[in-house]
């Protein structure tokens, strides 16, 4: 249909007249009418500015280019001169399990991984003691055992008070502050200290002039300087400084507190609206008084199924069951003091009660208040290119699903939204890194398996109510999705590119909980204060003067050693060795009376599995739980209960923090690899060798022999 047929003559005349006026105005510019207001002025100015900056940079780059090229040539001669590969792509799929992978390949569900296995390599990859992500990925990047990189668990213990702290990074307030009355003015930013030791292999590559893009590899917070770009992953805190604190805003009366990971906030009802707030970090100006910063929001109830949110000055509409996009929130402490975060809102319910779930407030990648990338502009670059994205280390809110604040679908939607962002980052990094290293870790595999293993395990106590024929095949779909991603990456590689797919550990069911503190108590190794039969969290009511051993975290068992722990009673040396032997003998093969199966299949002396300058910080024993078992939720938090074994009824139903021999990771490669027992510690030396670099002598891993080219 022609335009003239659909438009009235009068409208056509008006339009033509307008166009004529516009044309004349544009075609007959003079000083007085060349400028048409600040909108156009801004547009022209900022475009000019952009091009001017680009031009200036070009001039700088042009003159600096010969020197940089010379410098690069000198450095790169060391690397690419002996390199067997032009590019290495390492895709980390946290927790990808070799047995499940084989099963799905056999069922024809993973064609790309099947192709890699056929043409290249598929092996089980030995993990670390213990098989926990921060430990294993630290070993992956440094090529050394935990005794040299100092990461043994998510948590470490403070020897002066038996309390836990995050093992990977320490965040403190500014060094100096200025006190004015009740206010404290911080002079400077927070102090962040990385606790992981050892040098990541991309540092050596960068030294040799090989560019590296490293995305979301765990335990890379705070980011370290090197020649390349890096976005930190697991262990990046949220804006509150925690590892992820969600918020449930609700009109329901408060019930018991969440076990961990979340807070309840009341929603106040007004006539046709509700109001609540997002809790933020502590007010830095009130000097540790616990004063919490908040961002208020309002909810206008459109109908029973839809509501309009106003957060700061932003307005958006959500239906029940919908997530918002990432919403920037600014917590204002005072003039010049504010913290920038982003969070997503999920409308759970509007009637009869109103409930809104708010994700942990992530550090805003576009305005990072803490460094989450190297250089700091890299996180900003990604935010500008793709929009805001999750920056929290453990971005998938497993606690919210565990606490039944989110349901399966809402949790999965959150996981795959984050995963989508990571995929975009990966493909951008691949485009930017035609030569060098591109390493990206996806943690969706870990989180989804943790939370949905109950549907895979026929007898899992957390899914007893779900008929077997109604159990969703979430994990199989997860693996298929990862396979498709691998297929898309494979389309981008050539003969000079090494593609390696690794996981840090596998997965098993977590159906039964073992409270090792309860066992220690019942067997006389841990004493409670008089009259107590159970302790609170973090050893509240433990009598340290009579306690010989204790456990906290996932796999570590500690002696209460004299001269080391504040109230230690075990003499170092022969007494300590004897106690370790005794505990090892008694715990190894510990049987679960309910099933008759071994809850513990190995206890490992740290002196035999670790070597290095930081062994003193290691647990004295590493406990390897059996298939189907794991440390109980209470035991992890240093709590003594009366039950040693109990069912795990939480959605967090799969785990890997068990006997490392039971949960190897996977290794796929597009080239044939010859290695007797490939281990995750070997990845770093192998990549260094493939790029033709000499191996640092302190590495524990051994480089594999990799075929010179991809098999046809």
């Amino acid at each position: 249909m022609k335009w003239s047929e659909t438009t009235s003559p009068a409208a056509r005349r008006r339009l033509l007249a307008s166009l004529a006026v516009l044309g004349v105005v544009l075609l007959h510019p003079s000083l007085s009418h060349a400028y048409a207001g600040p909108g156009a002025g801004f547009a022209v100015l900022s475009s000019f500015w952009t091009l001017f900056v680009a031009f200036l940079y070009s001039v700088y780059a042009f003159f600096a280019w010969p020197f940089r090229q010379l410098f690069r040539l000198l450095r790169r001669r060391k690397a690419y001169g002996k390199a067997q590969i032009k590019r290495a792509i390492i895709l980390g799929f946290d927790g990808m399990d070799p047995e499940l992978t084989e099963r799905f390949i056999a069922e024809g569900k993973l064609p790309n991984l099947a192709s890699l296995r056929e043409r290249g390599t598929f092996r089980k990859l030995q993990t670390t003691f213990p098989p926990i992500s921060p430990v294993a990925w630290s070993t992956f990047m440094t090529g050394v055992n935990p005794g040299k990189h100092n990461i043994y668990d998510f948590l470490a213990r403070d020897l002066s008070n038996y309390l836990p702290y995050l093992s990977s990074a320490e965040i403190k307030g500014p060094k100096r502050s200025w006190k004015i009355g009740k206010y404290t003015i911080p002079l400077g930013g927070p102090r962040i200290k990385g606790m992981r030791r050892g040098i990541p292999f991309w540092h050596w590559l960068g030294e040799a002039g090989i560019f590296c893009s490293v995305i979301r590899v765990p335990v890379t917070f705070p980011p370290e300087k090197f020649s390349g770009v890096l976005l930190s992953g697991m262990c990046v805190p949220d804006l509150k400084g925690s590892q992820g604190t969600f918020c449930l805003c609700t009109t329901r009366l408060p019930t018991e507190k969440f076990r961990e990971g979340g807070v309840r906030v009341p929603i106040e009802r007004h006539r046709s609206s509700c109001s609540s707030y997002v809790p933020g970090p502590e007010n830095p100006l009130t000097g540790g008084s616990g004063d919490e910063l908040r961002v208020n929001f309002e909810i206008q109830l459109d109908n029973r199924n839809q509501a309009r949110f106003t957060v700061d000055s932003q307005t958006f509409t959500l239906k029940v069951g919908d997530y918002s996009e990432w919403i920037p929130v600014k917590f204002r402490a005072g003039v010049g003091f504010s913290a920038h975060g982003i969070c997503r809102f999920y409308l759970k319910e509007l009637s009869p009660e109103v409930e809104v779930y708010v994700t942990p407030v992530n550090i805003d990648p576009g305005k990072p208040d803490l460094p989450i990338s190297h250089p700091v502009t890299y996180s900003i670059y990604l935010a500008k290119l793709f929009g805001p994205y999750a920056t929290l280390g453990l971005a998938e809110d497993t606690w919210a699903l565990n606490e039944e604040v989110l349901d399966d679908q809402a949790f999965l939607a959150q996981c795959y939204a984050n995963h989508g962002d990571r995929e975009r980052m990966l493909f951008d990094a691949l485009e930017k890194t035609r030569q060098g290293l591109c390493a990206c870790v996806f943690d969706t595999t870990d989180r989804v398996q943790h939370m949905f293993w109950r549907y895979l395990d026929e007898d899992h106590p957390a899914a007893r109510d779900v008929p077997r024929d109604q159990r969703p095949s979430v994990i199989q779909e997860l693996y298929s999705r990862m396979d498709k991603l691998i297929g898309r990456v494979m389309e981008q590689i050539d003969d000079k590119t090494l593609l390696m797919i690794v996981s840090d550990h596998g997965f098993k069911s977590f159906a039964r909980c073992v409270n090792l503190n309860a066992w220690l108590h019942q067997n006389g190794y841990l004493a409670l204060k008089s009259g107590k039969t159970e302790s609170g969290d973090w050893f509240d009511d433990v009598d340290w003067s009579r306690t010989r051993a204790y456990t906290m975290g996932l796999n570590g068992l500690y002696l209460n050693l004299k001269g080391r722990e504040r109230e230690g009673i075990i003499e170092p040396g022969a007494d300590a060795d004897a106690l370790k032997d005794e505990l090892g003998r008694k715990l190894d093969g510990l049987v679960d009376p309910a099933s008759g199966r071994a809850g513990i299949t190995g206890v490992f002396d740290c002196d035999s599995v670790y070597a290095g300058p930081y062994v003193d910080n290691a647990p004295d024993l590493i406990v390897g739980y059996g298939d189907g078992f794991r440390a109980s939720w209470d035991s992890v938090m240093g709590k003594v209960t009366s039950q040693i074994f109990e069912d795990n009824l939480k959605a967090w139903s799969g785990d890997h923090c068990i006997d490392p021999r039971l949960v190897p990771g996977v290794l796929f490669c597009n080239r044939k690899i010859s290695a007797e027992k490939p281990a995750i510690v070997d990845v770093a030396p192998t990549v260094l060798k493939l790029f033709g670099l000499a191996l640092p002598v302190h590495l524990d891993g051994k480089p594999w022999t990799v075929a010179p080219s991809t098999a046809p």
């Binding site: 207001g37 600040p38 909108g39 900056v53 500008k384 485009e431």
Partner: protein, 273 residues
């Protein structure tokens, strides 16, 4: 000579500085800049795709950052340059859509303001030029100038055949609004001349035809179609406005101040430009 008319120029704005010593032209420009700055960002807010502009600007910044982040990857840098140009184009396209809504009214507003603020009336005793352009350079001799009382020619008419122009040098004895008459081929046409100080609505030229040009530069009725005179031009001196220690052409001052106002209001109102 002596057949023209004259009247005195009297308006509240007739003095360059008002009774309170305020720099009136500067105050007008400041006031108008603030109002236009506010109005335009509000119009921009409601006529633009704010989200798309935000995304386009962010992409542009991302490609600029890429230049620095991947400076040793020559192909990446080259691709980034291409993307910067493309992203700039996209941003300009989005930013200029609101321009379609404001360009016509704003242009006419600026034209009207330019009549008051672009030039100054001729000062009494200060010679100025009256130029007449004719169709036929051979008829320059036929053109004559008739001045009202208070205006005098200070030199003989100068003929410029190459430009088909006759130029008279004129001086005013006292402030006022005058009408000078130009005669050619038995037809007489008048042109308004303002002498004095302060703000007056000035029309530097009276034109025959040229509708669009007349809209932008002339404030007087068109000369009849079938007459030999193409234009009558009075050369008013350009007005400079003292502001912040500088002498400004009003449009530059308006440009700077309205941008500043726009920037202020866009930040206050959270509008993406």
């Amino acid at each position: 000579m002596g057949s023209g008319t004259s009247s005195s120029v009297a308006s509240p704005l007739s003095a360059p500085r008002g009774s309170l010593g305020v720099n009136v032209p500067a105050a007008i420009v400041v006031g108008i800049s603030l109002v236009i700055g506010l109005l335009m960002v509000v119009v921009f807010r409601y006529t633009s795709d704010q989200k798309a502009i935000h995304v386009a600007k962010d992409r542009l910044k991302a490609h600029l950052l890429a230049l620095r982040l991947f400076q040793d990857q020559i192909p990446v840098v080259l691709r980034s340059y291409v993307r910067i140009v493309l992203a700039t184009g996209r941003y300009l396209r989005l930013a200029f859509k609101p321009l379609l809504f404001v360009i016509v009214p704003l242009t006419f507003l600026i034209v009207q303001l330019d009549r008051y603020l672009g030039s100054m009336p001729v000062a009494a005793g200060q010679p100025f030029l009256v130029k007449v352009r004719l169709d036929n350079p051979n008829t320059l001799n036929e053109a004559s100038l008739q001045l009202p009382d208070g205006l005098l020619t200070t030199a003989s008419a100068v003929h410029v055949p190459s430009e088909s122009e006759v130029v008279w040098r004129v001086v005013a004895e006292k402030p006022g609004e005058y009408k000078v008459n130009v005669q050619s081929a038995d037809q007489t046409f008048s042109k308004r001349v303002v002498v004095g100080a302060g703000l007056s609505r000035l029309s530097p030229v009276r034109l025959r035809g040229k509708f669009w040009e007349r809209i932008f530069v002339s404030g007087e009725p068109a000369l009849p179609k079938n007459n030999p005179i193409e234009s009558i031009d009075v050369q008013y001196p350009a007005r400079n406005i003292a502001f912040a220690g500088f002498e400004w052409n009003w449009i530059w001052l308006f440009f700077v101040l309205s941008l500043a106002a726009g920037f202020l209001f866009k930040s206050i109102l959270g509008i993406e430009i």
